[in-house]
C-alpha cells in the first residue's frame, strides 16, 4: 500500500514545481540561445579575423640562407665555393639540458672532449633564440644514425646546409680570406638593423680578405620557407607554394691567375715573404701571395684554441698578409727611383764615380759591399753600387726623390678592394718638419741612406710591384686592380690612370739598366728565365732587418740566425723589350736579395709568360715541315 502523508499538499507542490520547472527550462533555453548568439558572433561576424589569427598560429616563415656567391680567378677557376653540409642544430630554451644532450650525442657521432667544451661555450655564447649548429660535416651514416634516434634528443634537429669550401686551401687564404661563424659581436656591430639571416644557425660571414670586403655582395638575400609549425615550434609540414626563394650572392671574379698564385706558393715553400705580380699594361693583379699560408677551410670549421695558437705564435706569421702589411725599407730597388729623379733633374748618366768600398763624407765612412771601381749610372744600377747612389742622392736631394717615388705609388694605400694595407713611408723634408718637432730639419747626412733605400723609407710588396709596373709600362701610372667584376658589373680597369710625368728616354734608361742587372749585374746568376728570346729585367734589394752594431756595419746580414737576417727584395718585369708582367718578391730574412728572391721571381714569371699565347709564339719557333701528310693516319 503506497501513500503519502502529505496528500493534501500534493497538488500544490506539483503545481508549484511545474511552474518553476517551466521557468528553469526557459532560462536554460535562453542560456543555450545566448551561446548560439556568441557562436554566430565568433564564427560568422568575426570569422575572418579569427581565421587570420589561426593562420598566424599555424604558419611561420623560416629563413633560408642564400647560396654564397662564388669567388673565381680571372679564368673562371673556382677559388671559393659551397658544398652541402649535413649538420645538427640545437634549439635551446630554458629547459634544455645541454650536458645530457651532448653526452647522448657523443655516443652517436665522434665528439672529443676539446670539441665538447668548445661546443658548450658556443651554445652559451650564441645569440638568444638562435639555434646553434652543434655538429657539422657529418657523414651520411652519422647523419642518418642521429636522425633515427632523434626522439631521444629533444631540441636537436638534423638539417642540410651549405658550407664554404676553398679548394686551394692555402694559396688564396690571405686575398680571398675566409668566412667564419657569426659572433654576438658581429651582430651588434652591424647595428639595430642586423640582417636576421645572421642569426641563422651555422651562418657564416666574411672575416678576412675579399670574403670580408665584399661580404654583402657575396651574401645575397635570404629567402624564406613557409612551414606549418605546432605549438612548440616544430615543423610539421612544408608549404612550397608559400616559399620566397633566396637571392643568391653575386659571384666575384678576381684578376688573380690561379696557376701563377699556386706556383708562387709552391716556390715559397716554408720561406716567409710575399710575391705580387701585375699585368703592367692593365694593372690587373695576377698574383698576390703571402707565405707561409694556412688552410682557410680550418677557419670555416672553427679552430680549436690550440690550433689557433699554433698559427698565431709561429714566428713566420702565417696569419699576416705580408704582401700588404710587411713594410720594410725597399733597399736597392729604390735606386731606380733615385736614378730617375736624378735624370729628371738633368743629372748626366755618363758621370762616373769611383767606388773603393768606403767613401768618406760628412765626417764618417760610408760603405759599399764591393769595391766596384769606376761606374757610370747604368753600371751602378747593374752592380747596385751604394757609393754611387750616396752621391747621386746628395746631388738630387730628398724632396725630388720622394716626389718621384710617390708618383710610382710608394707611400700610398692602393685601393684594391681588400682592407689591411699599411701605407709605409716616403720621407722628405716636409715629413721631418711635421714629425720631428725637436729636429724639424732634413739633414744632408740623412740623404745618402735614402739614396740606397734605407732609413725612414718603407714599402710593401704591392707598392713595389706597382712601382715596377709603372716603370715597365712607361706611359701610364697604372693602378692595381684585384676585383675584375662583381656579379656582372666589371670594375674599372687599372689602365684608366693619369700618365707618368717623366721623359720617356729617362724611363727607357732605367729599364735598360734593369735589363743589365739581369744581364751582367747583381742578379745575373739568379734571374735567367731560359725562355729563349724572352728575358727579364729586374733590380735586387736588401733591407736591413735591424741596425747592425759597430763591427758588422757594412756587412749584409745574409747569414746567422733567421730572425736576424736581412729581408731580400727583387722587382722585375718581362719581357725586357716589351714588358707585360711586372712583379715584386719579398723574402723575409732571406739574406741577399738576388740570391733569395730572384730565383723565386723567375719561377713565378715563367708561369705567367708560358701561359701568354703571344709570348709562347715568340718562344716556340715553328718547326719547318717538309710534308704535312707525313704521319697522318692512312
Amino acid at each position: 500500500m503506497e501513500s503519502s502523508i502529505f496528500l493534501d499538499e500534493v497538488n500544490e507542490r506539483q503545481a508549484l514545481f511545474q511552474r518553476r520547472a517551466f521557468l528553469f527550462g526557459g532560462l536554460a533555453g535562453a542560456g543555450l540561445l545566448a551561446l548560439g548568439g556568441r557562436l554566430i558572433q565568433l564564427q560568422v561576424i568575426e570569422a575572418s579575423r579569427y581565421q587570420l589569427l589561426s593562420e598566424h598560429n599555424e604558419f611561420e616563415f623560416v629563413l633560408s640562407p642564400p647560396p654564397r656567391g662564388l669567388i673565381l680567378d680571372r679564368n673562371g677557376v673556382v677559388l671559393a665555393s659551397n658544398r652541402p653540409d649535413f649538420r645538427l642544430l640545437l634549439a635551446k630554451d630554458e629547459t634544455t639540458d645541454v650536458d645530457a644532450i651532448l653526452a647522448r650525442l657523443a655516443q652517436l657521432v665522434p665528439l672529443d672532449d676539446a670539441h665538447l667544451s668548445r661546443l658548450k661555450d658556443e651554445i652559451n655564447d650564441a645569440p638568444r633564440k638562435a639555434p646553434v649548429a652543434i655538429v657539422e660535416d657529418m657523414t651520411w651514416e652519422e647523419f642518418s644514425r642521429v636522425n633515427v634516434r632523434a626522439p631521444e634528443l629533444p631540441g636537436v634537429t638534423a638539417d642540410m646546409g651549405e658550407v664554404r669550401v676553398y679548394p686551394f686551401s692555402g694559396a688564396f687564404a690571405h686575398v680571398v680570406g675566409y668566412v667564419a661563424k657569426v659572433s654576438a659581436k658581429d651582430v651588434t656591430a652591424t647595428g639595430p638593423n642586423a640582417d636576421p639571416i645572421m642569426l641563422n644557425p651555422g651562418f657564416r660571414i666574411g672575416k678576412q680578405g675579399v670574403e670580408k670586403a665584399f661580404d654583402l655582395d657575396l651574401r645575397g638575400k635570404a629567402g624564406a620557407r613557409k612551414v606549418e609549425v605546432d605549438v612548440k615550434g616544430r615543423v610539421v609540414r612544408q608549404d612550397p607554394r608559400g616559399d620566397i626563394p633566396p637571392t643568391p650572392g653575386s659571384p666575384i671574379r678576381l684578376t688573380l691567375d690561379s696557376d701563377i698564385q699556386n706556383r708562387a706558393l709552391d716556390v715559397f715553400g716554408e720561406d716567409s715573404g710575399a710575391a705580387v705580380m701585375m699585368d703592367c699594361r692593365s694593372g690587373d693583379v695576377l698574383c698576390l701571395l703571402s707565405a707561409p699560408s694556412f688552410d682557410a677551410n680550418q677557419f670555416v670549421k672553427g679552430l680549436t684554441a690550440a690550433e689557433y695558437r699554433a698559427l698565431a705564435e709561429y714566428e713566420r706569421k702565417p696569419l699576416f698578409n705580408k704582401a700588404l702589411t710587411a713594410n720594410y725599407p725597399p733597399g736597392s730597388t729604390f735606386k731606380t727611383m733615385v736614378a730617375l729623379a736624378a735624370l729628371e733633374r738633368g743629372f748626366d748618366p755618363s758621370r762616373v764615380f769611383v767606388c773603393n768600398r768606403v767613401w768618406n763624407w760628412g765626417g764618417r765612412p760610408w760603405h759599399c759591399d764591393h769595391a766596384h771601381g769606376a761606374l757610370d749610372m747604368r753600371g751602378a744600377i747593374a752592380k747596385s753600387c751604394d757609393i754611387y747612389f750616396y752621391q747621386t742622392a746628395l746631388a738630387v736631394g730628398p724632396d725630388h726623390i720622394a716626389a718621384t717615388a710617390r708618383k710610382f705609388g710608394l707611400g700610398e694605400i692602393h685601393d684594391i678592394g681588400i682592407p689591411g694595407q699599411k701605407p709605409g713611408l716616403v720621407p722628405d723634408s716636409e715629413y721631418k718638419r711635421r714629425n720631428f718637432p725637436k729636429d724639424p730639419v732634413w739633414h744632408a747626412g740623412e740623404t745618402p741612406s735614402l739614396g740606397i733605400g734605407q732609413g725612414y723609407v718603407s714599402v710593401n710588396a704591392l707598392q713595389l710591384c706597382v712601382m715596377a709596373s709603372r716603370l715597365a709600362n712607361g706611359v701610364t701610372a697604372v693602378k692595381p686592380r684585384l676585383v675584375h667584376s662583381i656579379g656582372e658589373v666589371a670594375q674599372p680597369s687599372g689602365a684608366q690612370a693619369p700618365g707618368l710625368p717623366f721623359a720617356p728616354e729617362h724611363l727607357e734608361f732605367v729599364r735598360s739598366a734593369m735589363g743589365a742587372v739581369v744581364e751582367f749585374g747583381t742578379a745575373a746568376r739568379y734571374a735567367q728565365l731560359n725562355l729563349g728570346p724572352i728575358r727579364m729585367a729586374g733590380k735586387t734589394g736588401t733591407a736591413q732587418s735591424h741596425n747592425y752594431t759597430g763591427a758588422a756595419q757594412g756587412e749584409h746580414g745574409a747569414h746567422g740566425a733567421w730572425a736576424l737576417r736581412d729581408h731580400a727584395w727583387f722587382i722585375a718585369f718581362a719581357p725586357h723589350d716589351a714588358p707585360r708582367y711586372a712583379m715584386s718578391v719579398l723574402v723575409e730574412h732571406g739574406g741577399f736579395g738576388a740570391e733569395a728572391s730572384a730565383p723565386k721571381a723567375v719561377e713565378i714569371m715563367r708561369v705567367a709568360l708560358l701561359k701568354d699565347p703571344e709570348i709562347r709564339a715568340r718562344i716556340v719557333q715553328p718547326v719547318p715541315r717538309d710534308d704535312p701528310a707525313v704521319g697522318a693516319p692512312t
Partner: protein, 379 residues
C-alpha cells in the same frame, strides 16, 4: 498519457514492460552527443582511436548498458539509497581532503585499489538524491521558507565547501548552483531567491579578494582581459576563441582543425573539446550539438514534470539542472564568456568519472520515467 500497455496490477513490475517504458528518445539524444564526441576525439588524435576515441566509445557503451539497467531499478530503491550515496560521497570528499591525489595542483582524486575516483562527481548525484529525498517529505509551506531549509542548506554547503577546499572552484560553484536551483524548483520563496541573488552579488566581490587563491584570482582577471596575458593564463581563452572563430560557418573539416591538431588549443580532448569541434565542424556542428543538448534538457525536464512522486520530480530535475549548468558553464568558458574553470562538456569531453556519474544521473531520470506512476513512501 499512454497507459494502454498496462493491463493489470503488477504488470508494470515486469522487466520487459519496464524496457518499453524506457525513454528511448533520451537514449538516442545521449548516444548522438556521445557519438559526436567519439568522432571529434578520433579526429583530434590525428585520425586515431587511441588515446581517446576508442576508450570514450567503450566507456559510453558500458555506461549505456549500466544506464538502462539502473533505469529499470525501482524508484523506491533509489529513494532508499539517497542518503547512503550522499553520505558516501561526503565521506570520500573528506578522505580526499586528507589523503587525496594531487593533480594539477588540486586534490581531487582518490585511489581505491586500482580505481581512481573523483568524489566530487559522486557527490553531484548524491546531492541530487538527498535533496529530492528531503523535499519529498517537506510540505510546500515549509519548502517556501522555514527553519527546515537549514537541512538542504547544510546538505549543499558541506560538499560545496569541501570541493572548494580541494580547490576546485568550478565544481564547487556547480554543486552549490545545482542545489540552489533544486531548492528554487522545490518551492523556495522567489523573494528569498531574489534576496539570495542580491546577497551573492555583494559576497562575490568580497570573496574575490579574500577567499580566492592567487591563481583563481588570476584566472578571473584573465577572463576579464585575456589580452593582458597572452602566453600565460589568457592563452587558453585566446586560443579557444581563435579555434571557434576560425571554424566559420561550416568548419575546416574533420581532421583539418589546425588549432587542435597542432596543439595550440589546450585541453583539446577534455574541457575544450567544444572548441575543437567548433573549429572542425563550424557553426553548423555547434548549433546541432547545442540543439541536442537543448533537447536533452527538454526531455528530462518533461520527465520530471510528469512524475507522480515529488522525489521523482526533484531527482529528475536535479539531474537536468546539473547537466544544463555543465553545458552552459563549459560553453560560456570555451566561448570566452566565463572564466576558465574545470567543468567538462557532458558526454562530449573525454573523461571517465564525469561520464559515469552523468550516465548514472540519466539512469535516475529513466527510472523516474519508468516509475512515473509510482508513489514513493516517506520512509
Amino acid at each position: 498519457m499512454t497507459v494502454s500497455a498496462i493491463r493489470g496490477p503488477g504488470e508494470r513490475e515486469r522487466l520487459v514492460v519496464k524496457l518499453t517504458q524506457i525513454d528511448w528518445t533520451l537514449c538516442l539524444l545521449l548516444t548522438a552527443i556521445a557519438g559526436i564526441g567519439v568522432v571529434m576525439l578520433y579526429s583530434i588524435a590525428g585520425g586515431a582511436w587511441s588515446p581517446w576515441a576508442g576508450r570514450h566509445l567503450i566507456l559510453y557503451g558500458l555506461c549505456f548498458v549500466l544506464m538502462i539497467a539502473l533505469g529499470t531499478v525501482d524508484l523506491r530503491v533509489w529513494f532508499a539509497l539517497a542518503y547512503p550515496v550522499y553520505g558516501l560521497g561526503l565521506l570520500m570528499l573528506l578522505a580526499v581532503a586528507v589523503v587525496g591525489h594531487s593533480t594539477m595542483g588540486a586534490q581531487r582524486w582518490l585511489d581505491i585499489g586500482p580505481v581512481r575516483i573523483q568524489p566530487s562527481e559522486i557527490i553531484k548525484i548524491g546531492l541530487v538524491l538527498a535533496l529530492a529525498r528531503f523535499y519529498h517529505g517537506l510540505s510546500a509551506a515549509r519548502a517556501r521558507w522555514s527553519w527546515w531549509l537549514l537541512v538542504p542548506a547544510v546538505l549543499i554547503g558541506a560538499p560545496a565547501a569541501l570541493v572548494a577546499h580541494q580547490p576546485d572552484l568550478g565544481t564547487a560553484v556547480l554543486i552549490a548552483a545545482t542545489g540552489g536551483l533544486m531548492m528554487a524548483l522545490a518551492g523556495l520563496s522567489l523573494r528569498v531567491v531574489g534576496i539570495g541573488l542580491l546577497g551573492l552579488g555583494a559576497v562575490v566581490p568580497a570573496a574575490f579578494f579574500f577567499a580566492l587563491k592567487a591563481y583563481q584570482r588570476a584566472r578571473l582577471l584573465t577572463f576579464l582581459n585575456p589580452e593582458a596575458d597572452r602566453s600565460g593564463a589568457g592563452y587558453h581563452i585566446i586560443q579557444s576563441e581563435i579555434a571557434l572563430g576560425s571554424g566559420g560557418m561550416l568548419g575546416k573539416g574533420l581532421g583539418l582543425g589546425t588549432q587542435s591538431q597542432l596543439n595550440f588549443l589546450p585541453e583539446k580532448s577534455t574541457d575544450f573539446i567544444f572548441a575543437s569541434m567548433a573549429e572542425e565542424l563550424g557553426l553548423l556542428g555547434c548549433a546541432t550539438v547545442l540543439l541536442l543538448y537543448g533537447a536533452v534538457i527538454f526531455v528530462t525536464l518533461r520527465t520530471a514534470a510528469i512524475a507522480h512522486s515529488h522525489f521523482g520530480r526533484l531527482a529528475a530535475s536535479g539531474v537536468t539542472i546539473s547537466f544544463a549548468l555543465c553545458v552552459l558553464i563549459n560553453g560560456a568558458m570555451v566561448m570566452g564568456l566565463a572564466p576558465v574553470v574545470g567543468v567538462p562538456m557532458p558526454l562530449l569531453s573525454f573523461g571517465g568519472t564525469v561520464m559515469i556519474t552523468m550516465m548514472a544521473g540519466f539512469a535516475l531520470v529513466l527510472s523516474v520515467r519508468v516509475h512515473r506512476y509510482s508513489e514513493v513512501t516517506r520512509g
